[in-house]
Assembly symmetry: C2
Homo-oligomer: 476 residues x 2
Amino acid sequence: MSFYNSYILLHSWKQNYTTNLTMRKILVIGSGKSSSYLIKYFLDKSESEDLHITIGDINIENAKELIGNHNNAEAIILDVFDQDSRNNAIKNADIVVSMLPARFHIEVAKDCISYNKNMITASYISPEMQVLDIEAKAKGLVFMNEIGVDPGIDHMSAMKVLDTIREKGGKIILFESFTGGLVAPESDNNLWNYKFTWNPRNVVIAGQGGAAKFLQENKYKYIPYNRLFRRTEFLEVEGYGRFEAYANRDSLKYQSVYGLNNVKTLYRGTMRRVGFSRAWNMFVQLGMTDDSYTIDDSENMSYRDFVNTFLPYSPTDSVELKFRHNLKIDQDDIVWDKLEELDIFSSSKKVALKKATPAQILQKILMDTWTLKKEDKDMIVMYHKFGYELHGKMHQIDATMVTIGQDQTYTAMAKTVGLPVAMATLAILDGKIKTPGVQIPISKEVYTPILKELETNGIVFSEKEVPYLGYNMLNV
Amino acid sequence: MSFYNSYILLHSWKQNYTTNLTMRKILVIGSGKSSSYLIKYFLDKSESEDLHITIGDINIENAKELIGNHNNAEAIILDVFDQDSRNNAIKNADIVVSMLPARFHIEVAKDCISYNKNMITASYISPEMQVLDIEAKAKGLVFMNEIGVDPGIDHMSAMKVLDTIREKGGKIILFESFTGGLVAPESDNNLWNYKFTWNPRNVVIAGQGGAAKFLQENKYKYIPYNRLFRRTEFLEVEGYGRFEAYANRDSLKYQSVYGLNNVKTLYRGTMRRVGFSRAWNMFVQLGMTDDSYTIDDSENMSYRDFVNTFLPYSPTDSVELKFRHNLKIDQDDIVWDKLEELDIFSSSKKVALKKATPAQILQKILMDTWTLKKEDKDMIVMYHKFGYELHGKMHQIDATMVTIGQDQTYTAMAKTVGLPVAMATLAILDGKIKTPGVQIPISKEVYTPILKELETNGIVFSEKEVPYLGYNMLNV
């Protein structure tokens, strides 16, 4: 008890030492990859907006680097599972931003309820988070979630156009939305036109866990995992060329939230450069993306042994020819060069992972080639299509956004995730966003000022009227 | 309390009325499809072996028909979840055969422990059943499981050859085992050369739930579900022509039980007639066998709508052409005729199943065509390959068994499942099988007399020495 009290005293003293009494105290928990722009935004505004920023993380190296020797910020060691230090940090803050991995938000959220603090995350609302809605409303607290890039900017930019169409009397009949985290054109120098700009694991296991479901001209459509990467469609972004997209698992997730219950076509997808999916499909077909079992003796395998695991035994035939034969790959197919670029048939490179799943091994192999180099830049691309009927005529608006990173700290991912989080934080602190409850940014009150401010930061949607294409071009 | 007592009295009186005091009382719980031969076997032996057979089921129609007016048997209504009647029936028996679906055995098994009764099932040992091993051994009870056809006859016939090879000093290097429940040649009159001779659901979802794993020349091999039906191998059975086989999910399940820890190749598979798997693969590829989600509005769909659900929308192109294009099916490919035979493109036939999974809908469509007709006969085929080294030379023994059903009551399935169960029951009753514990039929004590008696009932393995083929025929 006495230890606890002296801890509080020490902590309060420290707070007073660094914090002006009139300052508004923002607590950011978690300072990983996506926090650079978020923290920079707060620091840049700290004087004019009277902000003091505390960054809590279990490892404060990155936070310290981001803060530099700025006066209005400090980094503190904070283990989110250490209740005392978590409670104290939250109690002392005016508002809390959780940039932790999604599964850790709930501990922070419960404290925010206890100590009456507003809270912001960039993550999907978990069922546990949703449960707090009643208490948050009762206490008048704003718990803003899904306000990064995807989810986040996608919600806001889509709702803006959807609301505009509806306000002028239009009836939405089609909504398609695509996002991709990719490598910037200037750093796009491998045959896959792809590098890992975010969690590699999510890329390797993307699309698993159930059929993709969407709505096409009033018909529910389902694509099993093994067909997902062969049912892509092409998208053209002015100035950036051609992309392709494969279906996300549940395109209908936001149907009612977006007010699209009467829409005929609803599709959400993930963007890649053209040709990625057809090549990726080779791994899917052979079972190399499976994450449900471990490979025996994976530790001592070469990359070649790993590939051979998915091919029939032969005392004579090469792994290469078995691979080509199994997947019917022609001699002159470019997908072959993509495989060779990965050095996946190497008999000298070792897997060196104990009890690894195929997905884990494949991830390791890909990371050899697809890891961003120091000078590489990333890119976020978003593409929405809105089809609607107005006064008996069909219309379509296409909205596209491309953001390119500055370097490996100030990435496009960090920018598009961090800035909307930061802007929402300040707007809540200023009382501009005040509707309480566990929510996502789909109301005008939220998206209008944030989209506007994002524009001044270079995150701009280009909207244009295009001929309505839909799916029934001949009207038969 | 008084009700309970009078129930017992009534029950005992009924038992005494129908049972001679010296008779040995067999209780068979469950009298479904596979119990015909089992019951016939007991009835035929009831005079010479002094047997009284009680058949308990929740629905005794089938049991009554199988018994006819035989003196030494009776059918009683028995709900396995009604503890009192279950306890009483088991208490009054000398031995208990459970022919219930596998998940219901455990209730019976626990009573058998309580009342000191030996027990027989044809099902895989569940973890709950395995737990009873200690108590069964302590009480000296035989709990024999997996003594139907597969599992059952496969264990016994394999162990017989394996033990023989080992006894003469041979070293097993290869074991492959295949079983198929098929339609008999005389009733084989559809393009798929297949009809449902057992639980249709298991056929539709076969191979799902994880990659197939096996051992090939000392290398672990894995086949994902989406490749399973394209990685088949052919098997020739004298007098019955050609079959194909796809890999079972876990070929290594019995590796240590069979004493095959040093084997180089271990493969277990399911047999079909040639061409079945390549055609079945169409359903797998499109996602029509998926059992993990329900289709919206499945109730009002036509078969054609169902197929179209897995194909891209088009206002003009036919479902047929989209299907052909999606799976690259040539104009003259026989698989197309197989689809048409199922009438799967019918726009008048309705699914008429509420909230059904793709697998449930496909099952319904297939049952229209693949249900056995009254005059149809089924067939069980088994094929083992044993490769071994003896005195520095390689050898191979192939063992095959074919059993054809008599009619739709006395099926090959009921014969090959029911007879080994019945024979084991009598052998345990006679004290010929007496090693206690939860077990499967892999010891000589068990398999030698039963395989011999199965032969006199026409279930005969033809074993022959063949040149060792293995996988490295050129020894490179």
